[in-house]
Amino acid sequence: MKKNYDFDQIPETGWCPGCGNFAILKVLKDALDELNIDPQKLVISAGIGQAAKTSQYINSNCFNGLHGRALPVATGIKVSNPDLVVVAEGGDGDMYGEGGNHFIHAIRRNIDVKNIVHNNMVYGLTLGQASPTSRKEFKTPLQIEGVYLEPFNPIAVAISLGASFVARAFSGDMNQMKKILKKAINHKGYALVDIFHPCVSFNKINNFKWFKNNTYYLEEEYDCTNKMEALKKAFETDKFPLGVIYINEKNKTFSENLIAYKNDKRPLYKREVNPQDVEKLLSSN
């Protein structure tokens, strides 16, 4: 049965059979649907990469822009029309590598955008180089003796910057992933959902089984509002914790802080501008 967010014809994807992106695509569509979010109100801002192609397969509004730049575009969209639900989606190279500076500052701005990052610890579209999250000693056609860089830790970075919502999911568990995505979408403020998923073509180390064996779900009684406890969790690497790791509801969102919305809550496109009102700035004194 055709649901919201489905196209009349199922588009042919550019993904490999068995790719974790399929599960993420399905679950995201289901989560949006179950939350009754009108596809007219959704915008997906995506970068470039296999993960960012997700935007091509969802029947809704989208801005599929440049590699690394989904967050600035999403910021411009959300702040110009706060009534929209805005998702910034891409892979680990897109968001943490090319877009690393924007990642840091989108968190600091607390822009009300859902930042979904497909994290497979490898570059897929460019055929298998290391990504910022690749584990040490991972060998690639470029890192021929293995990766020697310290892996980027998006969870720890986000928490340390006071991110308003930080979670990690695994594409191999669609039920849990859906729960986490729904929480993120319902959250007011910036929300990071880093989703572990296997790349069947270019990462033979961190495969489905590896993720299964190297992750665990946070216990029911875990307090995700305690920053220092959350940081401890973020640094666990023997087994990576899954679930909502940190929530910080102290900060206003970016739009709430802006002078432009102080006296007028309407989105920018609904406001009439009269050039004659500007004339007084040129007073003769």
Binding site: V43, Q56, N101, R109, A260, Y269, V278, L281, N285
Partner: protein, 563 residues
């Protein structure tokens, strides 16, 4: 009675020269003088040597002059950098200890004014700049009440004591200035009282607001930052989203998101920042999202001379971005055009869905001048957003190349923008036929725009034999050269639209027997552009790339050399 007087304030960074400039030009303008001021600063917050030139004139002037009629010295070592601009008649005002011995040989008319001791009498050295403000006002015999009124306004938030001290300071300076009995008289022009005083930055800011700008983001970079400061100051009244971006890459992408969602957005930057935006400009081209970029040039390459001026980034603006796509580039030469072209930039970006770049430079941006009031009732915020229907196609192939642009939540369609080559619905395609159609569609927009291109303006004799060609901020100086020459054979072609070349380009250039191109750069970038599109080659160039603007005297001298 003098035609005009040039005053130079020379001192260190951090001495409050800017405050003197802003107060005195306003007082002079409102007393019936035409004023123009420009500064040249070192890239530092304290020390060094900075100068501000203020021209007080019977007619409207907008050019830098070498000649110094009155030099006001605010610190030690404030003369040597500019000593070649002193003439026999130069009056040097300052305290004795600031004026080196070598200038005291009777060549110059030195007036010893002990500014520090006057300042100490008022309450400290901090009052020195206000004393100088009073001094200049006294020299020009400006109404003392007016002077005091500006002080009261300027210090209104600082409390009574500080205001009173400053009023004492201004009176002391004023009496001193009158007491010098310099006998300076400049023709008055009562019209100036009704005119509007503003800076180059403000002209771009006012133009943006008049164009309906409601979103600006930028990374601070001299000399472009004044524009975002201006919009920040007025953001509440006009409902403008103002955000300091983490880098210029973010800024250019953020404004694309903003336009996508229905805002009218701009960014402001200088060469280095613009270089970072290049990929984003290419993205705006293929997604066909409007963008307005203000590029305030300064000398490069790289960090270059951060606080100085040059017209060296025309080629950067012309060729920025991979792939082939249209763009529009304006280069206002005066503040009226700065307002007019900036407001127009928003309408054109919206209408043609192309990047519109406004090219200025440090000289333009940091200068102050009064302009005739502008009739804002001629301005219209043109909105080209379309309401979408169920089967809306973002990149519909149309005859004129413009595909109606929808925004999310306005209508029943989905709005899909794509940086890949795409089909009419905005989906990735690698169909060669569609690719070709999309390239043609995008390029067509420039042909369409050309129909409403802004012509180059001829200033001076319509029956010219010699034509000087300039663009952007050289407008003021070349125009004054024309006035000085006052001959029937010479005119000036002022280009305020530099790309696409205006439709009258070939016609006006072909008419001249002798062509001279004047540019504030080393390689005559605009001359090259004209050659490329018209085949007309310039053999006579007047180029300057020291980091300073052209002076009036310099162009006249070089013109004589070309005869």
């Amino acid at each position: 009675m003098k035609k005009d007087i040039s005053i130079i304030l020379s001192g260190e960074a951090g001495q409050g020269i800017k405050t003197i400039e802003l107060l005195i030009i306003r007082a002079l303008k409102n007393s019936g003088f035409n004023v123009f001021s420009t500064n040249e600063l070192m890239s530092r917050v304290r020390g060094g040597n900075n100068t501000t030139e203020i021209r007080v004139s019977g007619k409207r002037v907008q050019a830098y002059v070498d000649r110094i009629d009155i030099l006001i010295v605010l610190s030690k070592n404030a003369i040597s950098r500019i000593e070649n601009r002193l003439t026999k008649g130069t009056i040097i005002i300052g305290q004795d200890s600031f004026i080196e011995k070598k200038y005291k040989n009777g060549q110059y008319n030195i007036k010893d004014v002990a500014i520090s001791s006057l300042a100490k009498e008022v309450g400290g050295m901090i009052y020195s700049n206000i004393i100088i403000y009073g001094l200049i006002a006294g020299i020009f015999d400006i109404n003392l009440n007016l002077i005091k009124e500006y002080i009261t306004k300027h210090f209104s938030t600082k409390g009574k004591e500080i205001t009173d001290n400053n009023i004492n300071a201004v009176i002391k300076g004023y009496e001193k200035g009158k007491g010098l009995k310099l006998g300076i008289q400049v023709e008055k022009d009562e019209k100036t009282k009704k005119q509007v005083l503003l800076s180059g930055s403000e002209s771009i800011g006012v133009g943006a607001l008049a164009g309906g700008c409601n979103f600006i983001t930028a990374y601070p970079m001299s000399p472009s930052t004044g524009v975002i400061h201006f919009l920040a100051k007025h953001s509440e009244e006009y409902g403008v989203v103002v955000e300091q971006a983490e880098d210029e890459i973010s800024a250019i992408n953020m404004i694309q998101g903003a336009w996508y969602a229905g805002a009218r957005a701009m960014t402001t930057t200088s060469g280095g920042g613009f270089s970072l935006m290049v990929e984003g400009i290419s993205n705006a081209a293929i997604t066909e999202v409007p963008v307005v970029i203000h590029l305030a040039q300064r000398p490069g390459p790289s960090t270059g001379l951060p606080t100085r001026t040059e017209q060296g980034d025309l080629n950067l603006a012309l060729y920025a971005g991979h792939g082939e796509f249209p763009r529009i580039i304006f280069a206002p030469g005066n503040f009226t055009d700065g307002i007019y072209l900036t407001q127009k930039a928003f309408n054109l970006a919206d209408k043609y869905q192309v990047p519109v770049i406004i090219l200025t430079d440090q000289f333009y941006i940091d200068s102050y001048q009064s302009i005739k009031s502008i009739d804002f009732s001629n301005f219209k915020v043109e909105n080209y957003i379309t309401k979408t229907h169920k089967n809306y196609k973002r990149y519909k192939i149309t005859e004129d190349g413009i595909s109606p642009r929808g925004i999310p939540m306005l209508g029943d369609g989905f709005v899909r923008f794509d940086s890949h080559e795409h089909d009419e619905r905005g989906f990735i395609t690698e169909d060669f036929d569609i690719r070709k159609k999309m390239v043609d569609k995008r390029l067509k927009k420039l042909e369409l725009y050309s129909k409403e291109s802004i012509d180059a303006e001829i200033i001076g004799s319509k029956n010219y034999k010699t034509l000087m060609v300039g663009w952007g901020s050289t407008y003021g100086v070349i125009k004054e050269v024309i006035q000085e020459l006052n001959d029937n054979d010479t005119a000036f072609a002022y280009f305020k639209q530099v790309y696409p070349l205006p439709n009258n380009t070939k016609k006006i250039l072909s008419k001249a027997k002798k062509l001279i191109i004047i540019e504030n750069n080393a390689t005559s970038q605009f001359g090259q552009l004209i050659k490329r599109y018209t085949g007309i080659e310039f053999t006579k160039h007047i180029l300057k790339y020291t980091g300073m603007p052209f002076s009036l005297e310099e162009i006249i001298e070089k013109l004589n050399g070309l005869k």
